[in-house]
Symmetry: C2
Subunit: 327 residues, 2 copies
């Protein structure tokens, strides 16, 4: 930066200004500085800047899984919304573990990020303390909460599960079932299940029959779990799968078993993943605002960075029941 300043015949302070807030520098000077920057292919050292200003152009984001299409879409939306601002996402993977999340928050904080985004509203005590103490915007996502740490952007997982139950009942289901995965650690899937059960009870239905797999949702797992459910509860005629991927496995399992969908078995998924519209029959599913969550967070953060005072702290982006052939 000193070299640039010398070449442009100005002080380093002015170069710094020209780079960070171009409008605070007179146009002719800005032009000279830009020319010098180009000439020397100068690139500023963000760590020096971060040290001097005690904040960095980073946003820490913690997601529970790298390979989950939902969070990938959210990250994608956030990144797109932040494009051109110079902010860099620091992505951490908690692997659905609260302790891992806590450690990640600690190491992300060491970068003095400008904001931090976490998945869900349930955190360990230590994590909570760090988030409350961090003097930066904190966004929780993919759930809803009455009193967020700072801001929450998501939708009601409970309501989504309930909507699925009501829809299946509307379509003439007599015995409900649920196929899940990772319910111990994926709180959001747990909430959907709770909503499903609550709506079933409210309609006077018996508690849904359930089959679970301990690991991450996969199509093979979905097929197996449905198979178990069919064996244990042959009267089940409508199933909510915790995830479209499991529903996909379930579709093929039903084909193999000769249970026609939707006549013998109604199937509802979650996610409206790309393939949901392409299956035969096409899959009825709950569509979460996956990319929109990221896009909205980007918007909120941009405003906060510009100094706008937060007026709203809870953003319910809703979900959609996409009715297709499988129900």
């Amino acid at each position: 930066m000193a070299d640039v300043a010398r070449l442009a015949g100005v002080s380093p302070a002015t170069v710094s200004r020209a780079l960070r807030e171009p409008h605070a520098v007179s146009p002719p000077m800005r032009a000279r500085i830009d020319a010098a920057v180009d000439r020397l292919s100068y690139r500023r050292n963000l760590m020096a800047g971060g040290l001097a200003s005690a904040r960095s152009m980073t946003i820490g984001v913690i997601i529970p899984s790298m390979t989950n299409a939902f969070f990938a879409a959210t990250i994608d939306g956030m990144e797109a919304g932040l494009a051109g601002t110079g902010y860099q996402l620091l992505i951490g993977n908690s692997r659905y573990g609260e302790d891992t999340e806590e450690r990640l928050i600690a190491s992300l904080l060491a970068w003095s990020p400008a904001a931090i985004v976490v998945t869900g509203c349930r955190h360990s005590r230590g994590a909570l303390r760090m988030l409350l103490d961090a003097k930066i915007p904190v966004v929780e996502m993919w759930e809803l909460s009455d009193r967020p740490i700072d801001t929450v952007v998501g939708f009601s997982q409970h309501a989504a599960g309930a909507a699925a139950a009501r829809h299946l009942i509307d379509r003439g289901a007599t015995r409900l079932g649920f196929v899940g995965a990772l319910l111990g650690s994926d709180y959001r899937a747990g909430d959907r299940r709770a909503g499903f059960r609550a709506a079933a009870a409210a309609a006077g239905f018996a508690p849904p029959a359930e089959a679970h797999m301990a690991e991450q949702a996969t199509a093979v797992g979905g097929a197996k779990a449905l198979s178990q459910l069919m064996d244990a509860h042959p009267d089940v005629d409508a199933v909510l799968c915790s995830n479209d991927v499991m529903a996909l496995g379930a579709i093929f399992e039903a084909q193999r078993r000769g249970w026609p969908i939707p006549h013998r078995l109604k199937l509802c998924g979650f996610g409206d993943m790309d393939f949901a519209a392409a299956t035969e029959p096409a899959l009825t599913t709950l569509r979460p605002p996956r990319r929109a969550i990221g896009a909205r967070i980007a918007e909120i953060l941009r405003e906060r960075f510009e100094g706008t005072q937060a007026t709203q702290t809870v953003f319910d982006l809703g979900f959609e029941l996409v009715v297709r052939g499988s129900t």
Copy 2:
């Protein structure tokens, strides 16, 4: 750090050492320092450290798509392999654009990363120059090259396409087809297509009939493309899809058309995605070492960071043809 040093009764330099290379500090002193760190909940400022040492504990990674399961798995493997080392991944999304890649490299470099990982071996001139000038390990991935910039970890996409062609021919195919997406910008898919065509020609077959979609591979797109192919070339009896997701759409399309798989139509995918084993019939597919690429890169980088001299620069992790019911 000064506070910790004071509380532990040592110099700041010793605290710094205890934190970075615990073995260079005597055990009793280390214990005192650890206690002081705990007591003050001290967390070191990585930007100050980065500034002082002119390198940061980050690794820049550029992938073409955030929502592609292949790269997600690679990132996951890399992250897992780097766990406990304190390195943070800075992930950039080039969206399959060379210019975007170049810009990303520039902004990642501003973080003085300890290494940089890019997808593929084809880069813009500017990108190439920056990568060659960067005095850090540079890893190219998901392809192979005779003379990598520094190190390449991947497999031969061309060989994978050729293997698919030979397999389909072995299974009695008489007329080959190819269904692709994004071939203009996804060089790896382009290489597979080239390998497929080359092997077809080598076996004395006519050039494969093709149908493409301009956008990212989706199941709906796969169904549509196969449908076009069927209309334009009703004699096609064996198709390679650029991607398992497209193959999934193709399976359902064949079901709808009443073309039994594999008797009327043999179908091969790419990716061995989770659902490939669950479809009906199960999908024959090419399995890339997606997680292994990340894991191996982590291993290579850890060695390089420890100062080991690189002995090998080309890592061919191979691929596997997973034969299932669809062929």
